[in-house]
Amino acid sequence: MAWVTQTLSSSLGRKVIMSLTGLFLSSFLIVHVAGNLQLFKSDGGRAFNEYTYFMTHNPLIITISYLLYTSILVHALMSIVLTRHNQASRPVKYAYGRPEANSTWSSRNMGILGTVLFLFIVIHMRTFWYEMHFGSVPMAEYDGKQYKDLYAVVLEAFSQWWYVLLYVICMVALGYHLVHGFQSGFQSLGIRHKKYTPIIEFLGTFVFAILIPALFAAMPIYVFLQVHGII
């Protein structure tokens, strides 16, 4: 097995780990955003609560969720290993640099964007995931069946303007992270082709960097406006 550890600890292998975990996390975003669209239903949160019940009780989803937590941690830890290695590769910095002349801001600041996203995930999971699993969530009853009313937790969290603002800012960071990260993930796997790279770039830019973060950001804004009776 020496070749496996040797491969995965090479500079290219580490990027493969970043790529596979990153693309898996990207694919999760599709599921997450699609499911959370239930928040836009005007049914007092029933569809959303039934959806959260499904997500916390389906064995397949539960198994994948552990893979997801692992991916977040591996992606974050490997980024620290890579960043330290990369910084050590240039011990003396340039006195004068013009990196904006040859590369995009997001491509050079994936670590900062990733740190913002990691902190966001911690706050986000504390507010919803922790409450759902370990907190005292009020109950709701639909057709005689008891459901945890996570929708009430959502309404409470997103009724605070600063919390909504935090989410919107973090979704901008997500967009910048994915505009580089999504297509970069394919590059690290060596997937680059005249026919398919334009499709990957299109998906990375318009779906993962714009549409998905915009839909996520729309949720707290929508709930905030609704709670405060503006819409």
Binding site: S11, R90, S107, S188, L189, R192
Partner: protein
């Protein structure tokens, strides 16, 4: 033209260096950047000061010696060119120009603007070659190579190992250099014998030399005097992963 130069002066690899300012009053816009340095060194010689050490050889953009980081860009503000192909007309009268050596752990400064780029040589020695029979040359077109493949190989083979990719990369990564060398042989029939071994060994040597990993910022390709494409980095990733998954080398 009047130019203010801030040049990195460093006695040797063990001594810390610093930027030193020089005033040049009579610079022709038609001079190349290196000729401007020749003029400055002439003046320093007259004054009895130590001249600025910098690498140069062909002065026609093909040897890859003239490594200078000029105003925050590898080989200066002009894209697709080396320092010797850069002319003073690219600057304005009264400009201040900062000139530094390539900065990378794997490229230690020897003196002033000269860096030790033998790390590239060691990577090339690890696998950047093909085995051919000596003796009479084979007939032309005996080995069929489609035009498109020949062009791809030639694009990669244009690499002059100047190190601008390393200098421009925020991680001081040598991926574009190694990618060019691996790509050049990987697509050609002559390169097949060592194909697997080449990718494994050249990447291993690249890591041993202390270069960074690829963040795919694309800075290398923009600053490359030969505009070598990021396609080759993707091919290197493919070659390396394919080699690791299929070679009989279980020890890594």
């Amino acid at each position: 033209m009047k130019i203010t130069l801030k040049v990195w002066r460093q006695k040797n690899s063990n001594t810390p260096g610093k930027l030193v300012e020089y005033q040049l009053d009579n610079i022709s816009p038609d001079m190349s950047f290196l000729e401007m340095f020749d003029v400055l060194n002439g003046e320093l010689t007259k004054k009895g000061e130590e001249i600025i050490a910098f690498d140069h050889d062909c002065r026609e953009g093909i040897c890859g010696s003239c490594s200078m980081y000029i105003n925050g860009r590898a080989h200066g503000p002009q894209t697709g060119s080396t320092t010797c192909q850069l002319h003073m007309r690219s600057f304005s009268d009264g400009d201040t120009i900062v000139v530094e050596p390539w900065r990378a752990r794997a490229f230690p400064v020897i003196k002033d603007l000269m860096v030790d780029r033998t790390a590239f040589d060691r990577i090339a020695q690890a696998g950047g070659y093909i085995s051919v029979n000596t003796g009479s040359a084979p007939d032309a077109n005996e080995i069929p190579v489609p035009r498109e493949v020949a062009d791809t190989a030639m694009d990669a083979a244009q690499c002059i190992a100047c190190g601008a990719c390393v200098a421009a990369c925020k991680n001081a990564s040598a991926m574009l250099y190694v990618a060019a060398k691996v790509s050049h042989f990987a697509v050609l029939p002559q390169g097949q014998a060592e194909r697997t071994m080449r990718a494994e060994r050249m990447v291993a040597q690249m890591d041993t030399e202390g270069f960074g990993a690829c963040s795919f910022t694309g800075a290398c390709s923009v600053e490359c005097p030969k505009s070598i494409s990021l396609d080759h980095i993707a091919r290197l990733n493919r070659e390396y992963l394919g080699a690791k998954l299929t070679s009989n080398n279980v020890q890594g």
